[in-house]
Every structure is written in structure tokens, then in C-alpha cells.
């Protein structure tokens, strides 16, 4: 869901008085707060006075640490989002999920083979999938989670890797699954198998790795590590971006 959609949807559901006052009423773990309209869930919780020790990471939608579960007042369905990416709406009952207890299998990727039963033998619980699709509906990244589990189940490693590519390992799928599948670990295994054995090898990567090993960038890194912080910031701000240079940005 894009941010614009969020604003539109939330405004429709808000009573006029509150919009005029510029505040929404939200509930953080059951306690009511008034927060300014237009904040992300993460900012709103901080505005309410909370300091994040867990459930907060990159603040840019990439790390998957800030998964939020919320229900709007009088709504039947639970909703799932990344707190740093979703705008706060009126009447949200919010809770942050700090950690997902999902056991992860130990395996040596070098000793695995990308065969039909490889994933199933490491995560046999994927055979318990009843196709309820709850995982898909709990994914803040809008990934077709059930379909990648189904592809893993039938041994289509490449398809499982492809469908799970946008996963940021927030773990909401595993928290919701009635069959106790640990989807995001399954997707990660599929992508590892795919990257190591099935995908075409990148020539550029090989060249760059050799350059790193040969110490081509050691001097530059050394300079950055000892540089004055202000200079680092300035250097970062004035950096050139490839896509912009090529006129693609």
C-alpha cells in the first residue's frame, strides 16, 4: 500500500472534528494517546513518549524489525504493517512485536544439493500447509507467502526464491501460521540454494571480489575509517549516484 492511499483511506474514516484539530486518537498497548496526523506509526509511538529498545531498526522499510499488529476500532480483521512505513490512522490499537521465536534449522549450504526434496527434508513442516493463506495476508511486504511455501513443497526452489525475494524477515507469517511453519526461514533457504546452485553466476561479482581480496580498496577504507565525522557526512552528501549520472533518476 502506498503512502498516498493510506492518507486517503484514513481521512475518510476520521471524524471531522479531529481532522480540524490535527490529531488522531490511537491506543498503544491499550492506552489512549493523541498524536498529530501525518506521522508514521513509529513516530507516533515515540511522540506518545515511548522509547524503542526493540522493534526498531533501519527506519527505512528494509530491516523488518518494526513489525506492528493493529486493529482499528470495531474492525473484525487484524492488520499488519511496518511501523516505519505506515502512516498512523485514527482509532488504531497498536502493538509492536519485538521478536519472533521461530526455530531455524542448521545446515551447511555447501553440503546441500538443490533437489526436489531438499527444502522439505530440512523444514518438513511445510507439508502441513492447508492453504489458508493467513501468511500472505499477514505480510507487510505484500508477498504471496503461501504460494512460495507451496512451491517449496513441490520442490520448485527457483520459484520459491523468486516469490520470496522481497522478504525482510519480519516473521509475521510465522507468528500467524496455524501449521507452525517458519516461512521466512524456508524462503531464505530457497534463495540461498538458488543463489549458490541455480542462478547464473555474476562475472562482475567475481571480478570485484578478487579486487577486494587483492586489497584494491584497503587504502580508501582506511582513509574513511580515520576521517573526521563531519567530512564523512559532507562526502556522503556530495556523493555521486550512478543512476543519476546516467540520467535515469
Amino acid at each position: 500500500m502506498s503512502e498516498n492511499n493510506n492518507i486517503e483511506a484514513s481521512q475518510q474514516e476520521t471524524n471531522d472534528d479531529e481532522i480540524k484539530s490535527g490529531f488522531y486518537e490511537i491506543y498503544v498497548m491499550g492506552k489512549r494517546y493523541k498524536v498529530p496526523i501525518g506521522m508514521t506509526i513509529m513516530k507516533a509511538i515515540e511522540y506518545a513518549g515511548y522509547q524503542f529498545i526493540r522493534s526498531c531498526g533501519c527506519r527505512a522499510g528494509f530491516c523488518g524489525a518494526c513489525s506492528t499488529v493493529y486493529r482499528k476500532e470495531d474492525e473484525q480483521k487484524l492488520n499488519f504493517a511496518l511501523a516505519c512505513q505506515t502512516l498512523v490512522e485514527d482509532g488504531m490499537y497498536l502493538v509492536q512485536i519485538p521478536f519472533v521465536p521461530a526455530s531455524k534449522a542448521k545446515y551447511d549450504i555447501d553440503e546441500l544439493k538443490p533437489e526436489e526434496n531438499t527444502i522439505l527434508s530440512i523444514y518438513p513442516e511445510i507439508a502441513r500447509c492447508v492453504s489458508c493463506n493467513t501468511c500472505t495476508k499477514s505480510c507487510p511486504q505484500d508477498i504471496d507467502v503461501m504460494m512460495y511455501i507451496q512451491n517449496a513443497l513441490r520442490g520448485n526452489i527457483q520459484k520459491a526464491a523468486e516469490l520470496s525475494f522481497d522478504c525482510i524477515q519480519c516473521g509475521m507469517c510465522a507468528m500467524r501460521c496455524p501449521a507452525d511453519i517458519k516461512h521466512y526461514h524456508v524462503g531464505q533457504l530457497a534463495r540461498r540454494l538458488c543463489g549458490k546452485y541455480l542462478d547464473e553466476k555474476s562475472e562482475n561479482l567475481k571480478v570485484r571480489l578478487q579486487e577486494v581480496l587483492d586489497g584494491k580498496y584497503d587504502k580508501e577504507i582506511e582513509e574513511l575509517m580515520t576521517m573526521d565525522p563531519d567530512k564523512v557526512i559532507e562526502k556522503y552528501k556530495s556523493r555521486s549516484i550512478e543512476a543519476a549520472e546516467e540520467g535515469k533518476a
Binding site: C129, V130, N133, L153, R154
Partner: protein, 269 residues
């Protein structure tokens, strides 16, 4: 797909599908285990079709039983559709047919007979139906007590039918996982009936029966004195052979009991 094309028909492969759910749940209040089947029927519906042809006996049985249940009970359909808050609901209009039904009713065994290029002449084949094609009777694709669809197909392909009363017995099914010996002994019993009546091989249409009769049947050789397992063919293998199609995709080398020897002996390949 190659078979249907050779017979002048075209099937469209489903773009999206999930596991059928494996074994239709018979518990009256256990609707959750019908979700997988319903979802497949919704995939068919979403792709703009109203009929789905299924290769596997187990999938056919599961899909047919779920379809029947929601056709007969509006309540159950509504409960299952409650899960489809973001997906399309199942309207109940998809027909599920087994590939054998497609061959019998829509292609016609007489048409197949005319298209045979490599008749299975002299090959004595025991048709084996197992459970899923025939039980429960409401979803059976043939007479549950005296089925003939596989026998008719064998005749159309030019083979000889070896009939046995064990053709509708259970192969041991999922006991193959935790009680391998039970399944092996059943495979031994079923095949022995065929061998005593001069069968060269078995033809069946269920992948689990195929595994049990072939692999567990081979293991039965060490459990039953003097027993030798005869080769087991999946029905599409024999159809493709008889139609003269490319043998490469048939995976005849992947069997526990070598099926190529008898085909050579009978001069078929």
C-alpha cells in the same frame, strides 16, 4: 500435455495451483482441511475456466469430494468463503474430472485406438484401480465394484487385459511411511494374483499406488520366499508409448523394477 496434443486436444496448464490438501477430510466439522481444494477451484475460476482435468487419483478424489461437499452444503461453502476476504469467493461452478474420464468421455477410447502407432501387442497387463478412483461411490469415475475404465484403455492401446479380484484392493497407502512391511506384503499379494494369471506388468493411475507396488513391491522380494515383483507402469507412460511419443520424459529408468526388459521382450521398444 504431449498425449492430449497427439490426440488432437489442447489442455491449458494452470498458472497458479497449490497442493490439493491430500486426502479429503471426512470429519464433519473440519472445514479447514478443505481450504486447499477450494483454493485450487478458485484458481480455475480466476483463470476463466469452469473445468479442471486432474492426472492424479488422490488429487481428483480430494478435489471432487470438497466440490461435492460445498455443492451440497451452502453453509459449508459460506464458511469456507469467509476465508476469502481478500480473494475471490468460490462460486461452486467448477467441474473436476480425472484425465481417464477426459480420455474416455471427451476423446473416446475408439479415437485413441485409431491413433496408436506402437500397439502394446502381446503385453499382458493387470489393471489396478486401488481406492481413490472408486471410493466413495459419489465421486467414483467408474463402477466401484466392477470398474473397467483401465481395462478398456489397455485394450484401446493394443494390450492384453489380465483381470484379478485384487484390482480394487488398497495398496497400503500411507502405511508406506511408518509400516513399510505392511505395504510390501500388500504389494506382494496384489501382484501375485496378477502373476498367477500370467500378467507381465501392472498399469495404474495413482502415484502413491505406483510407489507402493513398485518400490515396496521390490522390497517384498526379501520378505516373501521366491517372490519377484513385476514392473509397474503409470498409465500415461503406456499411453505415450503406444502413441509413439518421445520416450525421454517417461523416466522408465527411474523405476524400482526395470520395466524396459519386458517391453523389449514383447518387441514393443
Amino acid at each position: 500435455m504431449a498425449i492430449t496434443e497427439a490426440l488432437g486436444h489442447k489442455l491449458i496448464e494452470m498458472e497458479k495451483w497449490n497442493c490439493c490438501g491430500v486426502v479429503a477430510s471426512l470429519t464433519s466439522d473440519d472445514l479447514m482441511h478443505h481450504l486447499a481444494s477450494i483454493r485450487n477451484l478458485i484458481h480455475v475460476q480466476d483463470e476463466g475456466e469452469d473445468k479442471v482435468v486432474v492426472l492424479c487419483d488422490m488429487c481428483t478424489n480430494t478435489l471432487k469430494q470438497t466440490n461435492l461437499r460445498v455443492t451440497e452444503s451452502q453453509d459449508d461453502l459460506e464458511t469456507l468463503n469467509e476465508f476469502m476476504d481478500k480473494e475471490n469467493e468460490y462460486k461452486g461452478n467448477v467441474t473436476v474430472i480425472h484425465f481417464l474420464e477426459f480420455l474416455r468421455d471427451e476423446v473416446g477410447f475408439d479415437v485413441i485406438k485409431k491413433k496408436v502407432k506402437r500397439p502394446l501387442k502381446g503385453l499382458r497387463i493387470m489393471p489396478y484401480y486401488g481406492c481413490m478412483l472408486l471410493r466413495p461411490a459419489e465421486v467414483a469415475i467408474d463402477d466401484p465394484e466392477e470398474p473397467r475404465i483401465l481395462a478398456d484403455l489397455i485394450k484401446a492401446l493394443g494390450g492384453e487385459v489380465v483381470d484379478t479380484p485384487y484390482k480394487i484392493e488398497c495398496c497400503g497407502s500411507y502405511h508406506t511411511i511408518d509400516q513399510k512391511d505392511v505395504t510390501s506384503k500388500r504389494a506382494g499379494k496384489i501382484s501375485t494374483f496378477g502373476v498367477d494369471r500370467g500378467a507381465d506388468c501392472i498399469m495404474l493411475s495413482c502415484p502413491l499406488c505406483k510407489y507402493n507396488l513398485d518400490t515396496r513391491g521390490k522390497e517384498a522380494e526379501s520378505l516373501i520366499d521366491g517372490y519377484h515383483q513385476i514392473p509397474v507402469f503409470y498409465y500415461t507412460q503406456l499411453i505415450a508409448l503406444a502413441l509413439g511419443l518421445d520416450m525421454e520424459p517417461l523416466d522408465l529408468e527411474g523405476h524400482a523394477v526395470d520395466p524396459i526388459k519386458i517391453l523389449k521382450e514383447r518387441g514393443i521398444v
